[in-house]
Protein backbone atom coordinates (compact mmCIF):
# COMPACT_ATOMS: atom_id res chain seq x y z
CA UNK A 1 0.00 0.00 0.00
CA UNK A 2 1.28 3.47 -0.81
CA UNK A 3 1.71 5.63 2.29
CA UNK A 4 -0.42 8.72 2.41
CA UNK A 5 1.19 11.38 4.59
CA UNK A 6 -0.33 14.81 5.19
CA UNK A 7 1.02 17.52 7.50
CA UNK A 8 -1.28 20.24 8.85
CA UNK A 9 0.98 23.10 9.89
CA UNK A 10 1.75 26.82 10.03
CA UNK A 11 4.92 27.93 8.24
CA UNK A 12 6.27 29.90 11.22
CA UNK A 13 5.47 27.29 13.88
CA UNK A 14 8.67 26.09 15.51
CA UNK A 15 6.73 22.94 16.49
CA UNK A 16 5.65 22.24 12.93
CA UNK A 17 9.22 22.78 11.74
CA UNK A 18 10.37 19.90 13.96
CA UNK A 19 8.07 17.55 12.04
CA UNK A 20 9.16 18.90 8.66
CA UNK A 21 12.83 18.35 9.55
CA UNK A 22 12.10 14.78 10.69
CA UNK A 23 10.19 13.97 7.49
CA UNK A 24 13.01 15.46 5.39
CA UNK A 25 15.67 13.47 7.28
CA UNK A 26 13.74 10.29 6.47
CA UNK A 27 13.02 11.27 2.87
CA UNK A 28 9.26 10.86 3.35
CA UNK A 29 7.01 12.34 0.66
CA UNK A 30 4.08 14.22 2.12
CA UNK A 31 1.42 16.78 1.34
CA UNK A 32 1.87 20.04 3.24
CA UNK A 33 -1.29 21.91 4.19
CA UNK A 34 -0.93 25.42 5.59
CA UNK A 35 -3.62 26.17 8.18
CA UNK A 36 -4.85 29.61 9.21
CA UNK A 37 -4.44 30.40 12.93
CA UNK A 38 -7.13 33.05 12.72
CA UNK A 39 -9.62 30.67 11.11
CA UNK A 40 -8.86 27.05 11.94
CA UNK A 41 -9.84 24.57 9.26
CA UNK A 42 -12.53 21.90 9.72
CA UNK A 43 -9.83 19.32 9.05
CA UNK A 44 -7.70 20.58 11.94
CA UNK A 45 -10.67 20.65 14.31
CA UNK A 46 -11.55 17.11 13.27
CA UNK A 47 -7.99 15.74 13.47
CA UNK A 48 -7.01 17.47 16.73
CA UNK A 49 -10.30 18.10 18.54
CA UNK A 50 -8.65 18.17 21.94
CA UNK A 51 -6.02 20.86 21.40
CA UNK A 52 -7.06 22.32 18.02
CA UNK A 53 -3.41 23.04 17.22
CA UNK A 54 -0.83 22.31 14.56
CA UNK A 55 1.22 20.37 13.76
CA UNK A 56 -0.88 17.30 13.03
CA UNK A 57 0.57 14.44 11.00
CA UNK A 58 -2.10 12.43 9.23
CA UNK A 59 -0.71 9.03 8.20
CA UNK A 60 -3.08 6.93 6.09
CA UNK A 61 -5.99 8.89 7.56
CA UNK A 62 -4.93 8.56 11.21
CA UNK A 63 -3.85 11.72 13.08
CA UNK A 64 -0.82 12.04 15.37
CA UNK A 65 -0.53 15.22 17.45
CA UNK A 66 2.13 16.94 19.62
CA UNK A 67 5.36 17.63 17.73
CA UNK A 68 7.81 15.54 19.78
CA UNK A 69 5.39 12.61 19.82
CA UNK A 70 5.08 12.96 16.03
CA UNK A 71 8.88 12.99 15.63
CA UNK A 72 9.18 9.78 17.69
CA UNK A 73 6.38 8.23 15.61
CA UNK A 74 8.20 9.15 12.39
CA UNK A 75 11.40 7.62 13.77
CA UNK A 76 9.60 4.37 14.63
CA UNK A 77 7.65 4.02 11.37
CA UNK A 78 10.44 4.95 8.94
CA UNK A 79 13.09 3.16 10.91
CA UNK A 80 15.38 2.05 8.13
CA UNK A 81 16.92 5.43 7.48
CA UNK A 82 18.56 8.25 9.46
CA UNK A 83 17.70 7.32 13.06
CA UNK A 84 16.61 10.41 15.00
CA UNK A 85 16.94 8.85 18.45
CA UNK A 86 19.97 6.86 19.63
CA UNK A 87 19.64 3.07 19.92
CA UNK A 88 20.99 2.81 23.49
CA UNK A 89 18.18 3.09 26.11
CA UNK A 90 20.22 5.39 28.40
CA UNK A 91 21.09 7.75 25.53
CA UNK A 92 17.43 7.69 24.45
CA UNK A 93 16.37 8.64 27.98
CA UNK A 94 18.81 11.56 27.96
CA UNK A 95 17.47 12.66 24.56
CA UNK A 96 13.87 12.53 25.82
CA UNK A 97 14.80 14.37 29.03
CA UNK A 98 16.45 17.26 27.16
CA UNK A 99 13.76 17.48 24.48
CA UNK A 100 11.25 17.67 27.35
CA UNK A 101 13.35 20.43 28.94
CA UNK A 102 13.26 22.41 25.69
CA UNK A 103 9.48 22.01 25.48
CA UNK A 104 8.82 22.99 29.07
CA UNK A 105 11.28 25.86 29.34
CA UNK A 106 12.26 27.41 26.01
CA UNK A 107 8.86 28.17 24.46
CA UNK A 108 7.35 29.87 27.51
CA UNK A 109 10.28 32.13 28.27
CA UNK A 110 10.86 33.00 24.60
CA UNK A 111 7.29 34.08 24.22
CA UNK A 112 7.56 36.32 27.26
CA UNK A 113 10.71 37.92 25.84
CA UNK A 114 8.81 39.27 22.84
CA UNK A 115 5.25 39.50 24.17
CA UNK A 116 5.83 41.40 27.43
CA UNK A 117 7.28 44.74 28.49
CA UNK A 118 8.97 46.41 31.42
CA UNK A 119 9.83 44.37 34.51
CA UNK A 120 8.16 41.22 33.17
CA UNK A 121 10.27 41.39 30.03
CA UNK A 122 13.48 42.00 31.98
CA UNK A 123 12.78 38.93 34.13
CA UNK A 124 12.04 36.92 30.98
CA UNK A 125 15.32 38.02 29.37
CA UNK A 126 17.28 36.91 32.41
CA UNK A 127 15.51 33.56 32.52
CA UNK A 128 16.03 33.13 28.75
CA UNK A 129 19.79 33.33 29.16
CA UNK A 130 19.79 31.09 32.23
CA UNK A 131 17.99 28.41 30.21
CA UNK A 132 20.23 28.75 27.18
CA UNK A 133 23.33 28.66 29.38
CA UNK A 134 22.09 25.34 30.79
CA UNK A 135 21.61 24.10 27.22
CA UNK A 136 25.12 25.29 26.32
CA UNK A 137 26.43 23.33 29.29
CA UNK A 138 24.67 20.20 28.08
CA UNK A 139 25.98 20.66 24.54
CA UNK A 140 29.55 21.13 25.78
CA UNK A 141 32.01 20.71 22.97
CA UNK A 142 29.97 18.13 21.10
CA UNK A 143 28.98 19.05 17.54
CA UNK A 144 25.33 18.16 18.26
CA UNK A 145 23.30 17.49 21.40
CA UNK A 146 23.20 13.84 20.41
CA UNK A 147 26.99 13.70 19.97
CA UNK A 148 28.48 13.15 16.53
CA UNK A 149 25.15 12.98 14.74
CA UNK A 150 22.19 15.34 14.49
CA UNK A 151 19.23 13.99 16.45
CA UNK A 152 16.13 14.39 18.57
CA UNK A 153 17.27 17.20 20.88
CA UNK A 154 18.80 19.14 18.00
CA UNK A 155 15.47 18.88 16.15
CA UNK A 156 13.57 19.98 19.28
CA UNK A 157 15.67 23.11 19.75
CA UNK A 158 17.01 24.28 16.38
CA UNK A 159 13.60 25.37 15.12
CA UNK A 160 13.63 28.18 17.68
CA UNK A 161 16.65 29.59 15.80
CA UNK A 162 14.27 30.91 13.14
CA UNK A 163 12.71 33.09 15.85
CA UNK A 164 16.01 34.42 17.29
CA UNK A 165 15.77 37.67 15.33
CA UNK A 166 12.30 38.21 16.86
CA UNK A 167 13.65 37.69 20.40
CA UNK A 168 16.70 39.90 19.74
CA UNK A 169 14.63 42.70 18.21
CA UNK A 170 12.00 42.83 20.96
CA UNK A 171 14.43 42.00 23.76
CA UNK A 172 17.10 44.38 22.47
CA UNK A 173 19.90 41.89 23.06
CA UNK A 174 22.33 39.73 21.13
CA UNK A 175 22.03 35.99 21.65
CA UNK A 176 25.45 35.43 20.08
CA UNK A 177 27.07 37.73 22.64
CA UNK A 178 25.73 35.68 25.57
CA UNK A 179 25.57 32.20 24.04
CA UNK A 180 28.11 31.90 21.22
CA UNK A 181 28.18 28.09 21.44
CA UNK A 182 24.44 27.91 20.77
CA UNK A 183 24.77 30.14 17.69
CA UNK A 184 27.71 28.07 16.40
CA UNK A 185 25.65 24.90 16.94
CA UNK A 186 22.61 26.39 15.17
CA UNK A 187 24.72 27.40 12.17
CA UNK A 188 26.17 23.89 12.07
CA UNK A 189 22.62 22.47 11.99
CA UNK A 190 21.71 24.93 9.22
CA UNK A 191 24.32 23.24 7.03
CA UNK A 192 22.06 20.20 6.94
CA UNK A 193 19.68 20.27 4.01
CA UNK A 194 16.67 19.17 6.11
CA UNK A 195 17.16 22.14 8.45
CA UNK A 196 18.12 24.75 5.84
CA UNK A 197 15.10 23.93 3.68
CA UNK A 198 12.70 23.94 6.63
CA UNK A 199 13.63 26.95 8.73
CA UNK A 200 12.16 30.19 7.36
CA UNK A 201 14.31 33.29 7.10
CA UNK A 202 14.54 35.03 10.51
CA UNK A 203 13.58 38.42 9.07
CA UNK A 204 10.52 36.93 7.39
CA UNK A 205 9.33 35.58 10.74
CA UNK A 206 9.71 39.03 12.36
CA UNK A 207 7.89 40.74 9.46
CA UNK A 208 4.98 38.33 9.69
CA UNK A 209 4.73 38.84 13.46
CA UNK A 210 4.77 42.64 13.06
CA UNK A 211 2.10 42.57 10.36
CA UNK A 212 -0.26 40.16 12.16
Amino acid sequence: MVDEVVLLDLWASMFGMRVRIALAEKGVKYEYMEDDWRNKSDLLLKMNPLHKKVPVLIHNGKPVCESLIIVQYIDEVWKDKSPLLPSDPYQRAQARFWADFVDNKVYGVSRRVWATKGEEQEAAKQEFFEIFKILEGELGDKPYFGGETFGFVDIALVTFYSWFYVYETFGKFSIEAECPTIIAWAKRCMQKESVAKTLPDQKKVLESLLSS
Binding site: L50, C65, Q72, Y73, R92, A93, R96, F97
Partner: protein
Protein backbone atom coordinates in the same frame (compact mmCIF):
# COMPACT_ATOMS: atom_id res chain seq x y z
CA UNK B 1 27.71 -7.65 36.28
CA UNK B 2 25.11 -7.41 39.04
CA UNK B 3 22.43 -4.86 38.30
CA UNK B 4 22.18 -1.97 40.70
CA UNK B 5 18.86 -0.14 40.57
CA UNK B 6 18.07 2.70 42.96
CA UNK B 7 14.99 4.86 43.06
CA UNK B 8 14.82 8.23 44.76
CA UNK B 9 11.27 8.92 45.91
CA UNK B 10 9.26 10.66 48.62
CA UNK B 11 6.70 8.73 50.68
CA UNK B 12 3.80 10.54 48.98
CA UNK B 13 4.90 11.44 45.45
CA UNK B 14 2.28 10.09 43.02
CA UNK B 15 4.63 10.31 40.04
CA UNK B 16 7.37 8.34 41.81
CA UNK B 17 4.77 5.58 42.19
CA UNK B 18 4.69 5.22 38.39
CA UNK B 19 8.28 3.99 38.47
CA UNK B 20 7.65 1.70 41.47
CA UNK B 21 4.76 0.11 39.59
CA UNK B 22 6.83 -0.41 36.44
CA UNK B 23 9.73 -1.98 38.35
CA UNK B 24 7.39 -4.20 40.40
CA UNK B 25 5.35 -5.31 37.38
CA UNK B 26 8.55 -6.28 35.59
CA UNK B 27 9.96 -7.98 38.71
CA UNK B 28 13.10 -5.84 38.89
CA UNK B 29 14.80 -5.67 42.28
CA UNK B 30 15.54 -2.10 43.40
CA UNK B 31 16.59 -0.08 46.41
CA UNK B 32 14.50 2.86 47.58
CA UNK B 33 16.09 6.08 48.76
CA UNK B 34 13.51 8.11 50.63
CA UNK B 35 13.86 11.87 50.19
CA UNK B 36 12.57 14.79 52.18
CA UNK B 37 12.04 17.61 49.69
CA UNK B 38 12.45 20.24 52.39
CA UNK B 39 15.95 18.85 52.98
CA UNK B 40 17.20 17.34 49.73
CA UNK B 41 20.12 14.96 49.90
CA UNK B 42 23.35 15.84 48.14
CA UNK B 43 22.96 12.62 46.14
CA UNK B 44 19.59 13.76 44.75
CA UNK B 45 21.06 17.12 43.77
CA UNK B 46 23.95 15.33 42.10
CA UNK B 47 21.70 12.95 40.16
CA UNK B 48 19.05 15.51 39.18
CA UNK B 49 20.81 18.88 39.13
CA UNK B 50 18.41 20.40 36.60
CA UNK B 51 15.05 19.87 38.31
CA UNK B 52 16.12 18.69 41.80
CA UNK B 53 12.98 16.53 42.02
CA UNK B 54 11.86 12.97 42.51
CA UNK B 55 11.62 10.42 41.05
CA UNK B 56 15.16 9.72 39.88
CA UNK B 57 16.21 6.26 38.76
CA UNK B 58 19.88 5.35 39.07
CA UNK B 59 20.86 2.26 37.09
CA UNK B 60 24.45 1.08 37.53
CA UNK B 61 25.43 4.60 38.52
CA UNK B 62 23.69 6.43 35.65
CA UNK B 63 20.73 8.64 36.48
CA UNK B 64 17.47 9.29 34.68
CA UNK B 65 14.91 11.90 35.73
CA UNK B 66 11.28 12.73 34.76
CA UNK B 67 8.82 9.93 35.51
CA UNK B 68 7.52 9.32 31.96
CA UNK B 69 11.09 9.36 30.58
CA UNK B 70 12.04 6.84 33.29
CA UNK B 71 9.05 4.63 32.34
CA UNK B 72 10.22 4.48 28.72
CA UNK B 73 13.76 3.68 29.90
CA UNK B 74 12.52 0.85 32.14
CA UNK B 75 10.42 -0.47 29.25
CA UNK B 76 13.37 -0.48 26.84
CA UNK B 77 15.88 -1.91 29.31
CA UNK B 78 13.81 -4.74 30.82
CA UNK B 79 11.67 -6.29 28.12
CA UNK B 80 9.56 -8.68 30.20
CA UNK B 81 5.92 -7.69 30.87
CA UNK B 82 5.81 -5.05 28.12
CA UNK B 83 4.00 -1.86 29.10
CA UNK B 84 3.77 -0.15 25.71
CA UNK B 85 2.11 -1.64 22.60
CA UNK B 86 4.31 -2.68 19.67
CA UNK B 87 2.45 -0.71 17.03
CA UNK B 88 3.94 2.80 16.55
CA UNK B 89 0.50 4.43 16.17
CA UNK B 90 -0.79 2.87 19.40
CA UNK B 91 2.41 3.97 21.15
CA UNK B 92 1.94 7.53 19.88
CA UNK B 93 -1.63 7.49 21.24
CA UNK B 94 -0.49 6.35 24.71
CA UNK B 95 2.22 9.03 24.78
CA UNK B 96 -0.29 11.68 23.66
CA UNK B 97 -2.80 10.86 26.40
CA UNK B 98 -0.08 10.54 29.06
CA UNK B 99 1.07 14.06 28.12
CA UNK B 100 -2.55 15.29 28.30
CA UNK B 101 -2.76 13.83 31.79
CA UNK B 102 0.34 15.66 33.02
CA UNK B 103 -0.14 18.91 31.08
CA UNK B 104 -3.90 19.38 31.54
CA UNK B 105 -5.73 16.93 33.81
CA UNK B 106 -3.44 17.14 36.84
CA UNK B 107 -3.07 20.95 36.79
CA UNK B 108 -6.86 21.36 36.40
CA UNK B 109 -7.43 19.20 39.49
CA UNK B 110 -4.82 21.16 41.45
CA UNK B 111 -6.65 24.29 40.39
CA UNK B 112 -9.84 22.99 42.03
CA UNK B 113 -7.90 21.89 45.11
CA UNK B 114 -6.19 25.26 45.58
CA UNK B 115 -9.45 27.25 45.55
CA UNK B 116 -12.68 27.62 47.45
CA UNK B 117 -16.16 29.02 47.04
CA UNK B 118 -17.12 30.49 43.69
CA UNK B 119 -13.52 30.27 42.37
CA UNK B 120 -13.59 26.55 43.06
CA UNK B 121 -16.97 26.11 41.36
CA UNK B 122 -15.56 27.76 38.25
CA UNK B 123 -12.40 25.66 38.38
CA UNK B 124 -14.42 22.42 38.57
CA UNK B 125 -15.82 22.93 35.04
CA UNK B 126 -12.59 22.45 33.02
CA UNK B 127 -11.46 19.70 35.43
CA UNK B 128 -14.65 17.73 34.76
CA UNK B 129 -14.30 18.31 31.00
CA UNK B 130 -10.83 16.79 31.16
CA UNK B 131 -12.12 13.78 33.09
CA UNK B 132 -14.85 13.30 30.47
CA UNK B 133 -12.14 12.86 27.81
CA UNK B 134 -10.69 10.05 29.93
CA UNK B 135 -14.14 8.48 30.26
CA UNK B 136 -14.44 8.41 26.45
CA UNK B 137 -10.94 7.02 26.09
CA UNK B 138 -11.84 4.12 28.40
CA UNK B 139 -15.15 3.19 26.82
CA UNK B 140 -15.33 -0.57 26.24
CA UNK B 141 -11.97 -1.21 27.92
CA UNK B 142 -11.01 -2.39 31.39
CA UNK B 143 -7.69 -0.59 31.41
CA UNK B 144 -6.49 2.38 29.35
CA UNK B 145 -3.93 0.07 27.72
CA UNK B 146 -6.51 -2.64 27.00
CA UNK B 147 -6.84 -6.02 28.73
CA UNK B 148 -3.85 -5.54 31.05
CA UNK B 149 -2.29 -2.65 32.91
CA UNK B 150 0.11 -0.72 30.68
CA UNK B 151 1.98 2.56 30.25
CA UNK B 152 -1.12 4.72 30.11
CA UNK B 153 -2.62 3.18 33.25
CA UNK B 154 0.63 3.87 35.09
CA UNK B 155 0.58 7.44 33.74
CA UNK B 156 -2.98 7.96 35.04
CA UNK B 157 -2.55 5.82 38.14
CA UNK B 158 -2.34 8.83 40.47
CA UNK B 159 -6.04 9.51 39.70
CA UNK B 160 -7.11 6.26 41.35
CA UNK B 161 -5.79 7.44 44.68
CA UNK B 162 -5.49 11.22 44.64
CA UNK B 163 -8.98 12.16 43.44
CA UNK B 164 -10.66 10.69 46.52
CA UNK B 165 -8.00 12.20 48.81
CA UNK B 166 -8.55 15.63 47.23
CA UNK B 167 -12.34 15.27 47.45
CA UNK B 168 -12.21 14.32 51.14
CA UNK B 169 -9.87 17.22 51.97
CA UNK B 170 -11.92 19.75 49.96
CA UNK B 171 -15.33 18.43 50.95
CA UNK B 172 -16.33 18.70 47.28
CA UNK B 173 -16.94 16.18 44.50
CA UNK B 174 -15.13 16.48 41.20
CA UNK B 175 -15.58 13.00 39.79
CA UNK B 176 -19.26 12.13 39.48
CA UNK B 177 -19.52 8.31 39.46
CA UNK B 178 -22.84 8.44 37.65
CA UNK B 179 -21.55 10.59 34.81
CA UNK B 180 -18.17 8.81 34.55
CA UNK B 181 -18.93 5.12 35.13
CA UNK B 182 -16.01 3.72 33.08
CA UNK B 183 -13.49 5.98 34.81
CA UNK B 184 -14.92 5.12 38.24
CA UNK B 185 -14.70 1.40 37.43
CA UNK B 186 -11.12 1.81 36.19
CA UNK B 187 -10.16 3.64 39.40
CA UNK B 188 -11.46 0.77 41.47
CA UNK B 189 -9.85 -1.92 39.26
CA UNK B 190 -6.52 -0.14 39.27
CA UNK B 191 -6.62 0.67 42.98
CA UNK B 192 -7.18 -3.01 43.86
CA UNK B 193 -4.94 -4.62 41.23
CA UNK B 194 -2.21 -6.98 42.43
CA UNK B 195 1.07 -5.17 43.10
CA UNK B 196 -0.63 -1.77 42.72
CA UNK B 197 -2.72 -2.19 45.85
CA UNK B 198 0.36 -2.76 48.05
CA UNK B 199 2.00 0.44 46.93
CA UNK B 200 -0.37 3.17 48.10
CA UNK B 201 0.94 5.51 50.79
CA UNK B 202 -1.06 5.43 54.07
CA UNK B 203 -4.32 7.26 53.39
CA UNK B 204 -4.57 8.97 56.77
CA UNK B 205 -1.09 10.40 56.32
CA UNK B 206 -2.05 11.66 52.85
CA UNK B 207 -5.20 13.31 54.20
CA UNK B 208 -3.19 15.09 56.91
CA UNK B 209 -0.56 16.25 54.45
CA UNK B 210 -2.99 17.56 51.85
CA UNK B 211 -5.20 19.21 54.46
CA UNK B 212 -2.21 21.20 55.66
CA UNK B 213 -1.19 21.99 52.09
CA UNK B 214 -4.66 23.23 51.16
CA UNK B 215 -4.93 25.42 54.25
CA UNK B 216 -1.55 26.98 53.50
CA UNK B 217 -2.46 27.66 49.86
CA UNK B 218 -5.88 29.11 50.57
CA UNK B 219 -4.38 31.35 53.25
CA UNK B 220 -1.84 32.55 50.70
CA UNK B 221 -4.53 33.35 48.10
CA UNK B 222 -6.86 35.10 50.56
CA UNK B 223 -7.19 38.90 50.19
CA UNK B 224 -5.34 40.63 53.02
Amino acid sequence: MAEEVKLFRTWSSPVALRVIWALELKGIPYEVILEDLSNKSSLLLQYNPIHKKVPVLVHNGKSIAESLVILEYVEETWKQTPLLPEDPYERAMERFWAKFGDDKVLPSLWNVFNKQGKDQEEAIVPAQENLTYLEELLRGKIFFSGERIGFLDLAFGWLANMVSVFEEVMGATVLDNQKLPSLSAWMKNFMDAPIIKESWPPRDKLITKYQALREARIEKEAPK
